[in-house]
């Protein structure tokens, strides 16, 4: 479903940006926004539509942390490891989540439920340590609260 729509969008996107210089990154942002990552077949199509070599597109995707080549999980868990959060022991939250979900940072659980990212300052250092699940921010998280927070999302599914 989503893919069909993007297919149409992709041509529209390229039309919108075609005449602007330095457009590739902005186009990739739009793709990433729709899929949560940049699928290979999309890159192939972009290469054709924009008439740039696939290698150039991959060169850009792999340089920037924001662009991903793998689909994300259903819920995106981001733990802030900005300076304030680091000082308030965000590392122990990451450890705890890794232990509970059996994944490492940057990975997705087998059931594709959770994806764990370590990010930088979320802009609410006063609430450090901070973690974010999808759009929701959890501040002053204690290690022993992590289980409860995560399990809410699992229960929602059932």
């Amino acid at each position: 479903m989503k893919k069909d729509r993007l297919q149409a969008d992709l041509e529209g996107l390229v039309r919108k940006w075609k005449d602007k210089r330095g457009n590739l990154i902005m186009i990739l942002h739009s793709v990433e926004n729709i899929y949560g990552y940049v699928p290979r077949d999309t890159s192939l199509k972009l290469s054709r539509l924009l008439d740039v070599p696939l290698a150039r597109i991959y060169e850009v995707i792999t340089f920037y942390n924001y662009f991903k080549l793998e689909p994300p999980g259903k819920h995106n868990v981001s733990v802030c490891m900005g300076t304030a959060c680091y000082l308030r022991d965000a590392a122990s939250l990451i450890e705890e989540i890794e232990k509970i979900l059996h994944i490492k940072e940057g990975q997705t659980t087998k059931d594709e439920m959770f994806h764990l990212d370590v990010v930088r300052c979320l802009g609410c250092c006063g609430l450090a340590p901070v973690m974010m699940i999808d759009e929701k921010v959890y501040g002053k998280v204690k290690k022993n609260e992590v289980v409860d927070i995560l399990s809410k999302y699992v229960k929602e599914e059932e």
Partner: protein, 580 residues
């Protein structure tokens, strides 16, 4: 009665539950007193205060109450809303050591309303520039003001603009650097989200001054709200004729466009940022040529930080001399810092240049959490250094911080207390730079990695004294030989922690101890028999069965089995587990 607005915010927590309760309390009370039509209730995401309980701000009077309890609601409505009386016990007294110049509108106007911005005096400077001033007059005012770049290096803004102005080219560009890379700072984000028009106004004035007709906002994609608000501001300004062609009948044309960063710290560096706007990998180029000569698409370009640009409107409106009346001899105006770490009130502060570190940390920041001892202050993020507490009375300006081995930076300021380990802190920043190195030049790519390896070795208990020399040597080589500022400054945190806290490194290397307890391999957990109540909780919670004993005999930790997770330390209610 004049229409009032009440802003609500739970400054202890980002969770909505408590604030929702208060929202209901307030709206019920307003309904009961028939005031609901005259008062607008708004839940907001940042009120500029932190850890102050439930907080409300009442507009237009701008009264702030903190630590509000349920039964205060009635009183606030009765006394303040109805009878315009201030409730002293709840009032938050503003710290007078701050000056709000760049942040003057943030939190006070609706950032999505251009009318609000104009009502607060916005776009006056632009009108003045376009109707009364020549580009050289703008440069003169900038020169008089002494404004220097707020993005880190502190380069005089007038010189940068003057270079670009002098270039003979039909195409020139203005770029706003909104990449805010310091991992513990959010000044620029707050300005872009809270007062986007001020940055726009600064850019349009910049365009007019250097003779450019196109500007780019380069904003981190991680700041979607900032992007949205800046786009809205651009659309509003265009609709009002403040962008486009023949602006205010002056024959001056200017357009603005947003380009998104994509999560690469090095893209904050000017030449890398330019490459990124051009749609390429963000790798730096050697300078010279400087961007003001050969920048975006090889055309003369000026790049300024968000806060630098946000300073422009008030500078022009009030005149350069007025701007220069605040500050020290060589650093003028105010600086916004994101004060975090172990201070009681973390948050954004805006202070006059020349204020001392002590005033910032103690008078504004309220001192150190738990009234512990401050050990040092870190400024400048991963490119900066630490300043030990002996220098707390140093007035903050570019020169002084530089002399102490740190930098002004873009505005990260972190208080470090005696529970923080500086070897670990150096490792934290270095790891950041190693992750973010673009890999183009060897000193940064290899040097950073080697430094990190050595720090890891030290924090794992395998350090040798010779390592200290190696750290210094590699740091020095990186400073001298790296291509861009990232590599040149990546070793600053290491360099400055060794400079001031060599003893702490020696503790790690010689005594194999991390007194702050951060380096796991160098921490030992021990149960103090005189404090232990023999409850057995620690034994139940130890994930590796390292705690032996019984309720009769008491408990001990087997160091062979202990994995140093700290579970026993956290769980013991009697503080009987200690780290050493």
């Amino acid at each position: 009665m004049e229409k009032k607005i009440i802003y609500l915010r739970d400054t202890d927590s980002a969770q909505q539950d408590r604030i929702n309760d208060f929202f209901t309390l307030f709206s019920n009370e307003l309904r009961d007193t028939n005031l609901i039509e005259q008062v607008q209730l708004v839940k907001i995401a940042d009120i500029g205060l932190y850890e102050k309980g439930v907080t409300v701000k009442i507009l237009p009077e701008n009264i702030v109450y903190i630590g509000i309890k349920n039964n205060d609601v009635k009183k606030i409505i009765e006394e303040t809303i109805k009878n315009n009386k201030i409730i002293k016990e709840l009032l938050y007294e503003k710290k007078s050591k701050q000056i709000r110049a760049v942040l003057k509108n943030c939190g006070y106007i609706d950032p999505e309303s251009m009318e609000d911005y104009i009502a607060a005096g916005g776009y006056k400077a632009l009108v003045k520039v376009l109707t009364e001033m020549k580009p050289e007059n703008v440069i003169d005012e900038l020169k008089k003001s002494g404004l220097r770049g707020r993005g880190g290096a502190g380069y005089p803004t007038w010189m940068k603009w003057n270079f670009a102005r002098g270039m003979n080219s039909l195409e020139k560009y203005v770029i706003c650097n909104g990449d805010e890379g310091d991992p513990g700072a959010y000044m620029d984000r707050s300005v872009l989200e809270g007062d986007p028009h001020s940055v726009l106004e600064g850019m349009i004035i910049a365009g007019y001054t250097i003779g450019s007709s196109k500007g780019f906002f380069y904003i981190r994609a991680e700041y979607p709200l900032a992007v949205e608000r800046v786009q809205k501001a651009i659309d509003q300004a265009a609709a009002a004729g403040l962008l486009g062609s023949n602006i205010l009948g002056s024959n001056f044309n200017f357009e603005l466009e947003i380009r998104l960063g994509a999560g690469a710290f090095v893209c904050g560096e000017e030449t890398a940022l330019i490459a990124s706007i051009e749609g390429k990998r963000g790798t730096p180029h050697p300078r010279p040529p400087y961007p003001s000569v050969k920048g975006l698409w090889d055309k003369p370009t000026i790049i300024n930080n968000v806060e630098t640009l946000a300073n422009i409107p008030q500078l022009i409106a009030g005149g350069g001399a007025k701007f220069a009346s605040i500050g020290t001899e060589k650093s003028k105006g105010t600086k916004v810092f994101a004060l975090t770490g172990k201070v009681k009130n973390s948050g954004l502060v805006e202070v006059p240049m020349g204020i001392t570190l002590r005033e910032i940390i103690f008078d504004i920041g309220g001192g150190i959490l738990g009234n512990r001892d401050i050990k040092a202050i870190q400024t400048g993020g991963p490119s900066g250094g630490v300043i030990p507490r002996e220098f707390l009375d140093t007035p903050v300006d570019y020169e002084n911080l530089g002399k102490l081995g740190s930098i002004m930076g873009s505005g990260g300021m972190i208080a470090i207390d005696d529970t923080d380990c500086l070897v670990d802190l150096a490792k934290f920043y270095l790891k950041f730079c190693v992750d973010e190195s673009c890999g183009k030049c060897a000193p940064c790519r290899l040097g950073g990695y080697q430094l990190l390896r050595i720090l890891e070795k030290i924090s794992e208990g395998n350090g040798e004294l010779e390592d200290l020399n190696k750290l210094k040597k590699i740091s020095y080589a990186m400073q001298k030989a790296s291509l861009c500022g990232l590599g040149q400054s990546a070793s600053n945190p290491v360099f400055s922690t060794i400079k001031y806290f060599e003893e702490e490194y020696r503790q790690h290397i010689v005594n194999k101890r991390c007194l702050a307890g951060k380096c796991k391999a160098l921490v030992y957990f021990k149960i103090l028999p005189q404090k232990c109540k023999k409850c057995g909780l620690c034994m139940k919670n130890c994930p590796s069965n390292a705690i032996l004993g019984s309720r009769e005999a008491g408990y001990v930790i087997d160091p062979q089995k202990c994995i140093k997770c700290g579970a026993c330390f956290d769980i013991c209610k009697f503080k009987a587990v200690m780290k050493e």
